[in-house]
Subunit: 581 residues, 2 copies
């Protein structure tokens, strides 16, 4: 196929769009790949759509290769299946909801676990039918609070979602591994650099889960990785190595001290420092943070106290992930007023537990450790309160913030922070959705067996933004060949007939050989053409110009900028070789 | 590609679905191509999705062949562009509307004229840029009052919509002709029998317009065609040949008669018959029907009188089409009460016109024709009221019903009624949408020129229903090869290893040769396999069974049912020949 710039529906822009903060957004708009229609809602112009189709084809090939079967479910969905799993409510304002002319409730599908489970239930019922993998490549909808960065976080976007259905946990694990392998192959093929991080399961329910993050400083997802090993994880998924429990024997007795005006850790440490015989630091104090939680589908809030070492903050995202699917909120003044046993700034384990409030602590707070903490009385703290002797937490919780330099959970090296763009997510969902609709298979023994499910997503349109983030320079986009909108960009650099005809001939021969060509046959200056070729980012640029009188053209590698003179007679063979390599 | 029935996500049904009234719906569900999710909302299972992709590919190829460029606009659209053209209101309850989390109004695109015009305005501004043809293949949404017949009239459906942008009317006409040609080629390729009918322009505005209707007795669209010529038209688009005007000279004078109890044409004719010197028929009477109309965007209703020969009914659909975009309603009793000059059952032209009500008549009511009509007084009619002498209509209107046997508007033969499924629609829209957003191109003379637009739609998913309506028999579907989910359906008719291995070898060799194979390798009886093969409808069925011991297999043509014994050694070559023919 020869695409002529003279007729291609494309206008490149010299200026960056005003709303574009990240390179992919800036360049995809400037090079005429996408256009904004509304916040987080974009049109795909011809070159953008070609890249999208290329990525879709690669995804399709890799999914087919593991035996997944493509189907296509609606985007407009009735409420009922989402009510059965409670997601009609749980999804909150991120879900687009609407009513039809008869008043029926519908939604625009943000993800399709319910519908896939229902679809399998509609067709299959015997152990012989399983495992089965189904996928779709589909337009999805999420009413993001802050859509950003063009197609990086849109409200209408293209996703590949697939689902595995197995009879047992071993089967699920193997289905998960096969999808993981397919994802590795497909992200490799599109030229992305990425890490696979351990993740929490988000709002999906279930257990094992990993995210594929394209490394990018503009990414929205923070993750940590070990300086030594291959360990990488979402901050929400980092576990804190617990020190060995110690003996409580021989520890000094707990003692209440008058510590006026010390409602914060900082004021407390300052006071202890200035008054104290011993050198206390924030790490010696125990900070108790009060939150309230509510289980999905219930209306009652319940108090919860979280204890962390005073040199750490409670990271609400980690706490929320740990308590999922419950909602979590910080206490307001009214809550303190309603629970007078909570003395703001001086909360200790005792009042909390005496009043039936659950008390969860950071894994570092083990038996035998001694703490300075609130004495449940204004201007008073207790010193040498020993865990396992003076208080016994109701359990541990991963709520303390994670910091660079923390030990890596796998015991190798320390953690460092990095940023990435989530391009894939794989989950071992388990039976959350199959339980909701009673998806069973008749076992070999004639007894029904509850099916177990995996869910696997690829952000197809987001992947294009991620590729653009990783593959560009100051002049424009630099597409990896397999996703590029064309293989070769032929620039007609001159007005005389020889040059024009030479370029036409080379383009026609390339086309004949199955090479995808963009031919810049416009009546604009070579400078404009060069700039556009670099902006558009096709991997190989061929300049047909004055050299043709000497029988040569220039073949330029868009990525390295290297140019080579190649004889006009052999250039087609040369380029076919490049493209097929 | 070899698709194994043992793992294919497919369960055929022996029973017709309860809600299926038409063959395509029944068979597409029974053969496992589609599944219902909600009224008018369907999932595509693997075989259905393959057919959909095949049709999409054909549409794409034919659109690309006329130089149209594929883009992809969002389905979720902001209200504003649709407000500019008034369609936010005009579309009424057929449009899905929703609000985002910030309260912004959005819609699910039923068609995209506004957005395409806006997109062109965003990129192009010079006469050099035109003409340009853009298209998309996209999921569209219409909240149909009565979704029916599976994917035949869905609420979520796939459409190809394209738009042409030209600088002048000649350009638009030529763009229209090119699209018309592309549609003829693509509907021919998918194996549809269809007619091209003159159509009214619907809610789209504009002038010339034709519909492609797939002939089908289950079709929702009625059309008429000439018994002699190629003329075909929507009932709404049929024009009535007007007789030549005659002289008013020498006609008897109009005379009011006392005609007690004759408020209907039937009672009037009976009365005249029994009392009369002359033999009057209903065709000699002039029936005046009162309606009220309202222009879009206004709140006031206006009265309108429509005169038709008494042997015809007013066809409200034709009247609405003629008065579009105005709304039309019949008068209620309250309206008669509010306008006492309207004597129900005895309305004549005089009172109507004397009271400033517009009076439009059927084209058959020409100067020199004499009529019996209401005398604007209860129980009275006037006889010999001559058009052009005693009353002068304000114009003509196509409101009378069209009947089989009416003369064809092109003068050749008479009309007969037929039914069809609308699969394509082409419009010369003109400047309705470009005026709304001031889409101009700078002309060669430096002056802005308003762009003119064409709009062209293909019902991609509906086309599949139409193909199924035309291509099936009592055993199942009978796909034309280019849209079929596979080329060859290999049935393993026997359990011994020779048969199984023979079928595997033939399938592998076919696959090697690029033939798409379904291989029924299931452990079920040959009878079940034969029934499923016929139901699924792949064009060629190969039965590998006992004959293999004699070195033969059976090749069966699904459409004709003819079976041929072919030697197992040459069957692959034979089938490749069939597929490529």
């Amino acid at each position: 196929m020869i695409t002529r710039m003279s007729t291609l529906f494309l206008r490149t822009l010299r200026e960056d769009p005003a709303d574009a903060e990240v390179p992919s957004h800036r360049l995809l708009v400037r090079a005429g790949y996408v256009r904004r229609v509304a916040p987080g809602i974009y049109s795909w112009l011809p070159l953008g759509l070609r890249v999208l189709h290329n990525v879709e084809r690669i995804v399709r090939e890799e999914m087919d290769a593991i035996g997944a079967q493509e189907i296509h479910l609606p985007a407009l969905l009735p409420k009922e299946p989402y009510e059965q799993t409670n997601r009609w409510t749980e999804y909150g304002p991120n879900m687009f909801r609407l009513r039809d002319r008869k008043g029926g409730d519908y939604l625009l599908g943000p993800t399709h676990e319910e519908l896939f489970a229902q679809t399998v239930k509609g067709e299959y019922n015997s152990y012989r039918d399983f495992p089965v993998y189904l996928y779709q490549i589909q337009t999805k909808y999420r009413d993001e609070e802050r859509p950003r960065a063009g197609i990086l976080r849109g409200r209408e976007f293209v996703m590949k979602d697939s689902y595995s259905f197995d009879l047992d946990d071993d089967g699920l694990r193997s289905s998960y591994e096969r999808h993981r392998g397919a994802y590795i192959r497909l992200f490799d093929r599109v030229g992305l650099r990425y890490v696979i991080v351990a993740a929490t399961s988000g709002a999906m329910g279930g257990s094992a889960s990993e995210e594929f993050l394209a490394e990018s400083i503009t990414g929205e997802d923070t993750f940590v990785r070990s300086t030594e090993s291959g360990f990488a994880a979402n901050v929400e998924a980092v576990t804190t190595p617990a020190p060995a429990a110690g003996s409580v024997e021989g520890k000094p007795a707990a003692e209440v001290h008058h510590t006026p005006d010390t409602p914060t850790i900082e004021t407390l440490v300052d006071f202890l420092d200035s008054s104290g015989e011993r050198g206390f630091t924030a790490a010696d104090t125990l900070k108790n943070v009060l939150v309230k939680t509510r289980q999905p589908g219930t209306r009652e809030w319940e108090l919860l106290a979280v204890g962390v070492p005073g040199d750490r903050e409670v990271d609400m995202k980690r706490l929320e992930a740990a308590l999922e699917p419950a909602e979590v909120e910080l206490l307001e003044d009214a809550d303190f007023a309603a629970n007078p046993f909570l003395v703001k700034g001086y909360v200790g384990p005792k009042a909390v537990q005496d009043n039936g409030v659950r008390y969860l602590v950071d894994p570092r707070i083990v038996t035998g450790t001694a703490w300075v903490t609130g004495a449940d009385k204004a201007d008073h703290h207790v010193v040498d309160l020993v865990c396992g002797r003076d208080f016994t937490p109701d359990g541990t919780v991963e709520a303390a913030d994670v910091r660079e330099g923390d030990p890596s959970p796998d015991g190798n090296g320390t953690l460092e922070a990095a940023r990435g763009i989530e391009i894939g997510h794989i989950f071992q969902l388990g039976r959350k959705y199959t339980d909701a609709i009673s998806l069973d298979a008749l076992g070999q023994d004639g007894k029904p067996k509850r099916v177990t499910m995996g869910s696997y997503g690829v952000g197809v349109s987001r992947m294009i933004a991620a590729i653009a983030e990783q593959h560009h320079d100051s002049s424009g986009l630099v597409w990896p060949r397999e996703v590029a909108p064309a293989d070769v960009h032929v620039v007609v650099a001159g007005k005389d007939d020889t040059v024009r005809e030479g370029a036409e001939r080379i383009s026609a021969e390339l086309d004949e050989a199955g090479v995808r060509v963009i031919l810049d046959d416009r009546g604009v200056s070579p400078g404009v053409k060069f700039a556009d070729a670099e902006l558009v980012g096709v991997p190989t640029i061929v300049v047909v110009g004055k050299g043709l009188t000497k029988g040569v053209v220039e073949v330029k590698d868009r990525a390295t900028g290297e140019g080579t003179e190649v004889s006009a007679d052999s250039v087609v063979g040369h380029l076919v070789g490049l493209v097929r390599s």
